[in-house]
């Protein structure tokens, strides 16, 4: 099923939660809405589900106008951040809920409901918990039950609000992989909201980066990481070194000193140079456009992370770089630095 969102505007008093948002989600996609808190991602999800109403705009699910229907008629599976399991019902009854509240005319008989619940509990590998109450489950188990409950109504689309937000790091990792494999199994069009870039890049087919109620970029995980469209995306996804530079004509200057890099079509004026930590090439002093003293080195795994105080410029600019361990850096050493890949965006403020 496809989802189409057109020119959605949503205000809470003076605060604009969504500012003219357009989004198309294709059949069978697993899409991530990624952004910091307050970026409007959860509001967008709730509007698609029918739990919130936009001030203006359109929502179409499979081409059909969804705003004409309430949440109970949209046939959308929604998984809440804090699970929202019915605390007075057993796991079995939680999953069965959506089937039991169906209008009498289309309601299945008890045996069919039981079989369907059993099937769903098998799908989330928790059939042995059927008679427990939500309070007796761990966070990860609750989340999987919440998912099974949402899937019970055979939803046209599946929406997940920070599905792993309340879980500890290890369980998160496991559930991420599990969600991805579940999606490839059942292939229902899904959107999940997250503020965790790693989660978005690892799980989703496509990532929508949001900030301040606007969509900053839509692309594959590779796209948004390698070709960030805006300064915000570059800063939000992946660790970046940000240096204030001045672009004049085709040349780029840092604190008055010219850097040996191309402006790459950036407009003249105050700008920001974004370089990934691992995209700084290191060499002996005197090579490269930048020079600095190594202040501190920590080595782990395949990389060494070094804190470098840049020489020249205004006062002390300290950056952190990730270098491969083929050349061990020493504290106190003076090294040359050259950005291998970089982006220049106009400074906004």
């Amino acid at each position: 099923m496809t989802i189409e969102v057109k020119n959605i505007v949503k205000k809470f008093g003076a605060f604009t939660a969504l500012d003219n948002v357009d989004l198309k989600v294709g059949k069978g996609e697993l899409l991530a809405l990624l952004g910091p808190s307050g970026s409007g991602k959860t509001t967008l999800l709730r509007i698609i589900a029918g739990l919130d109403w936009p001030d203006a705009g359109e929502v179409r699910i499979d081409g059909e106008d969804a705003l004409g229907h309430g949440a109970s008629e949209r046939h959308v599976g929604f998984v809440f951040q804090h699970y929202a399991l019915f605390r007075h019902m057993t796991v079995f009854e939680n999953v069965a809920f959506g089937l039991r509240v169906q209008p009498r005319a289309i309601r299945k008989d008890e045996a069919t409901i039981r079989a369907r619940v059993k099937e769903l509990l098998d799908l989330v590998q928790l059939d042995w918990l059927a008679n427990r109450y939500p309070s007796q489950l761990s966070g990860g188990q609750r989340q999987r039950i919440a998912l099974a409950r949402a899937l019970a109504i055979e939803p046209r689309i599946l929406l997940l609000d920070e599905p792993f937000g309340a879980l500890d790091a290890k369980v998160r990792k496991e559930l991420r992989q599990w969600l991805r494999s579940l999606h490839s199994e059942i292939h229902v069009t899904s959107i999940f909201v997250t503020h965790d870039q790693e989660e978005a890049l690892e799980v989703a087919n496509r990532v929508v980066v949001m900030d301040k109620g606007r969509i900053e970029q839509i692309g594959t995980p590779g796209d948004v990481y390698d070709n960030p469209a805006t300064a915000f995306v570059h800063g939000f996804i992946g660790e970046s070194i940000v240096l204030p530079v001045e672009v004049t004509g085709g040349s780029v200057r840092l604190g008055g000193r010219p850097l040996n890099i191309a402006a790459g079509g950036a407009a003249s004026g105050a700008s920001k140079l974004f370089v990934r930590r691992h995209d700084m090439q290191i060499g002996p002093a005197g090579t490269g456009s930048l020079e600095g003293a190594v202040r501190h080195v920590r080595s782990f795994g395949p990389i060494q992370r070094a804190e470098i105080a840049l020489s020249g410029g205004e006062g002390k600019t300290v950056i952190e770089i990730d270098a491969p361990r083929d050349r061990e850096l020493q504290a106190g050493e003076i090294i040359g630095l050259q950005p291998r890949r970089y982006r220049i965006f106009a400074a906004q403020d």
Partner: protein, 324 residues
Amino acid sequence: MSTQSSFVTPATPLRAYASTADLAISPPSHREASDRARVVASPKDLRTEPAPVRFVIIALAVSFLTVFVVLPLVVVFASAFSKGISAYFAALAEPEALSAIRLTLLVAAISVTLNLVFGVVAAWAIAKFEFRGKTFLITLIDLPFSVSPVISGLVFVLLFGAQGYWGTWLQANNIHILFAVPGIALATIFVTFPFVARSLIPLMQEQGTQEEEAAISLGASGLQTFFRVTLPNIKWGLLYGVLLCNARAMGEFGAVSVVSGHIRGETNTMPLLVEILYNEYQFVASFAIASLLAMLALITLVVKTVLEQRLDEGQTPRDDPSDH
């Protein structure tokens, strides 16, 4: 959760209290001495009061309770049975007594039912929606608690009495509110309004709206959501509120006294009849009715304790601290 933790460590606040009192009362020179005494005492003694102090405090509390609560209760039953069991039951079988019991049950049934509905609606509105004037509404719900019951009764006299705002219109249309069941029910509803709403608001605020949203997204209608999700979640709190509401409705004296008119065999509730019989020196009859009210109080206490336990249980089995 919070109620439990405050019970776990009663010694700590007590201790803090005692030591600040120490400091306030004793002149500077004595402070050093008391400090030294504390250093000498073993760590265990620091956490709890010395045995004599504990004994005095407990003895004080128990004797206070005995004089002001237990003794009166004993007197009620002793006086009721002073002329024997048959006199007791004969007093209860009097037509006036029966009529008072019937009226009290009727008024309680009406006011508890209506306040159940009003209370749930008000608590729902306050706990689940954001709107302007919410704080004002909460204050308004508490109003009956802060107004003297006699004033509550007088309000209805001013509204519905012969000289009241709507008095002439009511008389013209032959509608009897004052000195009749509707007036007594109205006064009782007013006085007992806060109980249900008050016991539900914190509970519903804590539970939030997510379960309801989940139910709706699963295709449940508004009514299905209410009866299958909301109501089961608040049932113990609701019963608790109803219980207190009922106890007050049956025992209310002041407000009802103003609007009842004391028509014998017609508009006297049990508390009113107790007073009338007492003033007529019919002590056995008076205390017999009083004993019924006292029993109601005792039953209410027991049920209340049970419900409080259920309420605590309903909230404690949450092992995941992030799950709020």
